[in-house]
Symmetry: C2
Subunit: 223 residues, 2 copies
DNA sequence: ATCTTAATTTAGGATATACTAAATACGTGT
DNA sequence: ACACGTATTTAGTATATCCTAAATTAAGAT
């Protein structure tokens, strides 16, 4: 039974919002998808009463994914992230332009297409934004990165992941040189405004970043 | 105004069935799309009353494309054929497996995606089946090929185009060595059953093909 | 002219997915 | 216990796309 684009996007959204198995609220889903809350309620009720059910739904308590729902969320997410990677690596897209394209393509490619691009890319583990790509058997690789915002001087770290898909944000930090794989050293953390002063490896000049940026960038601390 | 997948497929179908501007019947569209005739009537009425209208619709007389309808048909067809070519050339698909995949992807790729794969392929003029690919400004390249069935011995010709998308048919003729670009010589045409005996360039043994095959293969006669 | 049949359209419905407006429940502070 | 504001659900619609069954039209045969 092939599921609709709409349902696949709901599942992806619930997966993304449901950290640590906490239930996800109707409103949160509505905001993320740009849909009226009432419409989301309707869709959640339908998804909960399919067989097999895709979500556990408790009125006014929010939803969590069933095993089946999570499987499809991961399947769709694997499509999405492989596509983003393919668009950047093989078709020369810039990393701020791939999200929209992948979000349309993810719903229509076959399993064969998925296999072929994965292979062409050498079975990558992360997409251009550093997001982990679910494995072919649909488990999500765990990564132990933390927000750049949580670092203290004089810690050193590698940028792992950028958790914000908005093209202007991505263009901004790319211009600064902040991309997955880049090493950096925290020089100072200012009180109250929590700005970070830091230097990227290979760059002379220093950077000062506010929390609006540092909370969206995940890094791995270098021992 | 973005048109739906369904409408794009209707337009492609009307384009394909409407040789020389002859009106296309409801039934023909229904058969080709695997949809009930009544549903087709409904859709045709809607398409005729959009602004701008996509088709000219005369009750019980069949439909023809308007300029706008033809534009979209060619746009979709360009997507389809570029995708088929890309799948074969860059992702290693076999030519009998690309149609279905392209028929889903054609509706969701952006103009940017279209440009990029066209460029990656060197702006090809034909797809893997030899079908001409509409140019970027949406004109259909004219080709002067004729059915293999119309040849007489001892004419020689180059295979140009295979006008049948069914995978078993494509696998069959590929196994025989009949692909676009292959040269051949007609040795004999038998009366009544219209079988053709012929030899492919580079092959030792001869082939005997019935009209079910030779009417679907288009060739260009070598002077 | 009328009959028969095939093609087509109309009528009535179903499903998926959205919307707005109105009703209801929940949680919090009094 | 209660009232208020927010989150959520219900009710009632709308649109797109399909379906089946019944009605209508056109075209050829008698
Ligand atoms: Mn999507
Ligand atoms: Mn990503
Ligand atoms: Mn299609
Ligand atoms: Mn083709």
């Amino acid at each position: 039974m092939r599921l609709s684009h709409a349902i696949q996007d709901y599942l992806k959204t619930i997966y993304a919002l449901g950290v640590e198995g906490r239930p996800v609220s109707t409103t949160a889903i509505a905001r993320r998808l740009g849909i009226a809350p009432a419409s989301v309620t309707g869709m959640l009720q339908r998804m909960a009463s399919m067989s097999p059910p895709l979500i556990h739904y408790r009125k006014r308590r929010g939803v969590t994914l069933t095993e089946e729902g999570e499987r499809i969320a991961l399947e769709t997410l694997r499509h999405h992230r492989l596509l983003e990677t393919y668009l950047v690596v093989n078709l020369g897209y810039s990393w701020d332009a791939v999200h929209e394209e992948a979000c349309r393509l993810e719903h229509v490619i076959s399993e064969d297409f998925e296999r072929r691009i994965a292979e062409a890319l050498g079975n990558p583990e992360r997409d251009p934004h550093g997001d982990p790509i679910p494995t072919p058997d649909l488990t999500m690789p765990q990564s132990d990165s933390c927000p750049l915002a949580s670092l203290q001087p004089p810690q050193r770290a590698v940028v792992r992941r950028v958790c914000n898909e908005e093209p202007p944000f991505l263009r901004h930090i790319a211009r600064l040189g902040l991309k997955p794989g880049v090493r950096l050293e925290v020089l100072e953390r200012s009180a109250f405004d929590h700005n970070l002063r830091l230097r990227l490896e290979g760059h002379e000049d220093e950077l000062i970043l506010g929390p609006a940026v540092t909370e969206r960038i995940y890094v791995e601390v270098i021992s």
